[in-house]
């Protein structure tokens, strides 16, 4: 799985789990703020995002892994996902 695949998967998860328009997620860059900035991303939605990431990337996300940092920006979330895939 390439970084490109992971990037696309993370965008697709955010689009599908949060019900965001395709155009909005296509415009996300590394600095785009997520948690705290997107009203759709409340704590219940976070659970859905994490589970979809696990299912689509074949990774396991422990409760300890989850903090504000990994959800702060699109770049942080993509990096987190890539690290998990590589592990």
């Amino acid at each position: 799985m390439t970084m490109n695949d992971i990037d696309r998967a993370v965008r697709a998860v955010l689009r599908d789990a949060l019900g965001l328009p395709e155009a909005q997620v296509a415009a996300f860059d590394a600095d785009t703020p997520l948690f705290g900035a997107l009203p759709e991303l409340d704590s219940m939605a976070v659970a859905g995002v994490l589970t979809e990431l696990e299912d689509r990337l074949g990774i396991t996300i422990d409760d300890d892994d989850v903090d504000g940092d990994m959800l702060e920006t699109f770049g942080a979330l993509a990096r987190f996902a890539a690290d998990k895939v590589a592990a």
Binding site: R15, A17, E52
Partner: protein, 202 residues
């Protein structure tokens, strides 16, 4: 029990996803039942004890109760009766006498349990997204699996890498934080269910 379409002939009996996901997907499911009715297939959505309009509190509900209620509801319909379940709804159709079971994105009870625990963890620990679930229900859930025998058809959405007989277009509506509908998905579900029922009969 909500019913659409003819009283006689083949029927589809539906089960929503469990817990909070039911609220998010009810409108979409009802739209699909209407579409099936328009195709001449009777469609039903039974109420489960401890859910929706039920007078029993959710914390007293058990999976066994839900399975029994679903089986009783299916028994009241003229046949052949096929189940159409989404997500954890697949865990409650095992006791019903059915001609077949069509499932969208089914998951095991253990996977459902893990998702509930994740929700509880993220939400601060007091309950499961506003639902107080009994330890008995959680134990049942952890051990439950969708029935693996009989005529089965599994559908999944485009982004889902797990095996499926058919992949349908659309979004996982059970993930949305508000109730939502996706006409593209709903039409695709109705088409596939109707075609499968016809092929089962043939």
């Amino acid at each position: 029990m909500l019913r659409f379409g003819p009283d006689h002939g083949p029927h589809v009996i539906a089960a929503l996803p469990l817990f909070e996901e039911a609220n998010r997907t009810r409108a979409a499911m009802i739209d699909i039942l209407r579409r099936l009715a328009a195709r001449g297939i009777g469609a039903a959505l039974p109420d489960l004890p401890g859910a929706g309009e039920s007078l029993i509190p959710t914390e007293q509900a058990t999976l066994a109760d839900w399975r029994a209620a679903f089986a009783a509801a299916a028994g009241a319909l003229t046949g052949p009766v096929h189940a159409m379940t989404w997500r954890g709804g697949a865990l409650i159709d095992g006791e019903a006498a059915l001609a077949g079971r069509w499932r969208l994105s089914p998951l095991t009870g253990a996977a459902q349990y893990r998702e509930l625990e994740r929700l509880r963890q993220i939400g601060g620990g007091a309950d499961h997204a506003g639902n107080r679930l009994s330890p008995a229900l959680l134990d049942e859930l952890d051990a439950a699996e969708p029935l693996a025998s009989g005529a089965l058809r599994v559908a999944r959405l485009g982004g889902d890498p797990q095996d499926a007989a058919v992949r349908l277009p659309g979004r996982p509506l059970w993930r949305a934080s508000e109730p939502d509908v996706d006409p593209l998905l709903q039409e695709a579900v109705a088409d596939d269910v109707a075609a499968w029922i016809a092929s089962c009969a043939g």
